[in-house]
Symmetry: C2
Subunit: 394 residues, 2 copies
């Protein structure tokens, strides 16, 4: 027997990197730093008491602790289908819903179902980093289209298509974009759906923030306009991340293929947390009040952050109008490099995510993402004051 | 714009099939059928009251409902590391542990980390079907070595290696095999570890049943003998499947690569169910009593099933001695085709899984898996009586 080399990892593992944001979050956990870098719900707005009540009720039943169906506990699929039906003009069947371990798992399973290595995928730039991780691991060829205040520039997408590109799927965060804050206009939703039908590609409409609107609900889902749209959403932002309840809604053939892949991925989800989520999502009076509270608190914080940024930076910064979600997107017009600004900002006791963390091919040295959910209005004002001091001293 | 065809699925999806066992479970859910086909813990032995108490206590803390670290809530990693250290002779660091969404997710993430398409993987035959699903999705080249009463025939593995095969990994269910019931002997554990060191391959020691022993604990883990062994286990069989808490223990480089892939797969697990599991696993007096109860009840059922089989079939059937776990493995010596027997058995009101469900390349028409965990002794006797009647009438 000859001594062999240590076994190696799969080829693609070498190219993976940890999310820059997760690494930044470790650095910014220091108590003296006000962090606008996260993307978490405020723990005070996570309905822990209601979760405890639901957990009590659910644990009275033996089926709450056993294995469940791979596609999700059917009672939860029914609740989600009813809510999806109400959000648009199409009736959604529970068998057009698969419950996943957060909507991130839906993205990951869909990549396994839809993408062969080398397949072309289109994302928005700036991009949701969790989607980039999935598409890179799938060894997809990633193209981008820019985002503006009305969401994805579907005219740019059409240019790619007429130039001969044939994507397998197009990914969009349709409402209150992470990180760009924009919501896709109705006209562009129709245009995107029409392009999907004409050229034969899947659209993933990734929508974790749609319920967190401040003044007006977003338009009907992109999925209202074509059966080639697979919609993802989640209970993480409105109920609790720790339930790990996300879902996809899509054609039954897609749901069945996702279910097959999920058998190998983790057999099934947690009946316990799925039954807790179903209990809370089906309690309409409670949920309506809870959503109203979230919208009120986050809306006030978004307003305070936007006002503080306008007051402190004036014309040096342009900020996307914030209609909902968790983020404010800044574009510096004075040549500021936000990567350099971050170092100074940490010295001044404030953290944010430089735009480069969301870049695919473009230049995002002048942009930044600020999260407004986890600090109150006074603290947000203080944080922007620190950021402005760092900016002056750069 | 020309009308394009409907977008297609990834190439490998066409070759996937649903688990035959999951499909069989749907058929055998009828109340008049005694099912020995499952592989579930008895709901009566899932400690629902203790889960409810732990859930109450955990939900008093705000961090129980927020996102957690991708590698798992650190308090749970510490508890698992302490238990893994106690199970063998090596001290295990919490950073050598990654908490996964059931141990099935550990298998799936490891396949992404370790396997390129076409990589060679060795499994035992009969094989754990969940592992086969993962390795097939990874487009691995699957080779088998047989199992006997002392576990994996490592002499057969050595023959493959000396013939020039160079597997990337070897998968074994080391204790109370599913479906084969066997436990790997100490000599074979050493031999397998030595082969891994000599030829440079990873071993996945998949051990969800090791704590469910009846007369004597199994030998020290294979991981005691080499750092090339990655050990998987789970809280599903001893606490509750619905917690979806599994884990892997392995070298830090492996844990870090798994963590990177898990970021894309689902961001993180449920802090809530991880904190519940940690509370229960760390409560040593309670856990000791609970495990004693499980071992007593399942041990008595295993004994009753084995006695009934011996009484009803005599020399026509050889059954592996059952030292623990959840399964009894039968080999018919009289030419019975268990696929045909199943149809007759369902008519007589009893279900089991024919050996062909666990076959890779070999012939398992004469074998069958019987689960003894979810029926009491009298019902198991009745079930074997029905099976014997079906066998007589075949």
């Amino acid at each position: 027997m000859s001594l062999s080399p240590h076994p190696s990892f799969a080829r693609r593992i070498g190219g993976l990197r940890s999310s820059a944001i997760r690494d930044l979050l470790t650095i910014t956990a220091r108590p003296e730093i006000v962090s606008l870098a996260g993307g978490l719900p405020d723990p005070e707005l996570i309905p822990r008491t209601r979760i405890r009540e639901a957990s009590e009720a659910v644990l009275a039943r033996p089926d709450a602790v056993q294995y469940t169906e791979t596609a999700g506990w059917f009672g939860l699929r029914e609740v989600i289908a009813a809510r999806e039906s109400a959000a648009g003009s199409r009736a959604v069947d529970p068998r057009e819903v698969v419950v996943t371990h957060g909507s991130q798992q839906a993205l990951s399973l869909l990549a396994q179902v839809l993408l062969d290595p080398g397949a072309t995928v289109v994302v928005e730039e700036p991009a949701y980093t969790g989607a980039l991780q999935v598409f890179r691991l799938a060894e997809a060829r990633i193209l981008t289209v820019p985002l503006d205040a009305d969401g994805m520039r579907t005219d740019h997408l059409e240019e790619l298509l007429t130039a001969g590109e044939r994507p397998t799927l197009v990914h969009t965060v349709s409402n209150f974009h992470n990180p760009g804050s924009a919501t896709m206009s109705v006209a562009r939703r129709r245009h995107l759906a029409a392009l999907a039908e004409a050229y034969g590609f899947w659209v993933i409409e990734d929508d974790p923030y749609g319920e967190i609107w401040f003044d007006a609900a977003p338009p009907a889902p992109v999925a209202d306009h074509s059966d080639l749209v697979i919609r993802l959403s989640s209970a993480s932002k409105i109920l609790a991340p720790a339930l790990r309840v996300g879902w996809l809604r899509g054609p039954r053939a897609v749901c069945e293929a996702v279910e097959l892949v999920k058998q190998g991925a983790d057999l099934c989800g947690s009946t316990l947390t799925q039954q807790i989520a179903a209990t809370m999502l089906a309690d309409e009076p409670w949920l309506a009040g809870h959503l109203e509270r979230i919208r009120g608190v986050y809306g006030a914080r978004a307003g305070a952050l936007a006002a503080a940024v306008a007051g402190a930076f004036g014309d040096a910064v342009s900020a996307t109008e914030i209609g909902g979600g968790m983020f404010c997107w800044l574009e510096f017009r004075d040549g500021t490099d936000t990567g350099l600004l971050l170092a100074a900002a940490l010295d001044h006791g404030v953290a944010f995510v430089p735009g480069s963390a969301f870049a695919v091919g473009g230049d995002h040295r002048g942009t930044a993402r600020l999260c407004f959910t986890t600090n109150d209005e006074a603290t947000l004002g203080e944080a922007v004051g620190r950021l402005a001091a760092a900016h002056r001293g750069r």
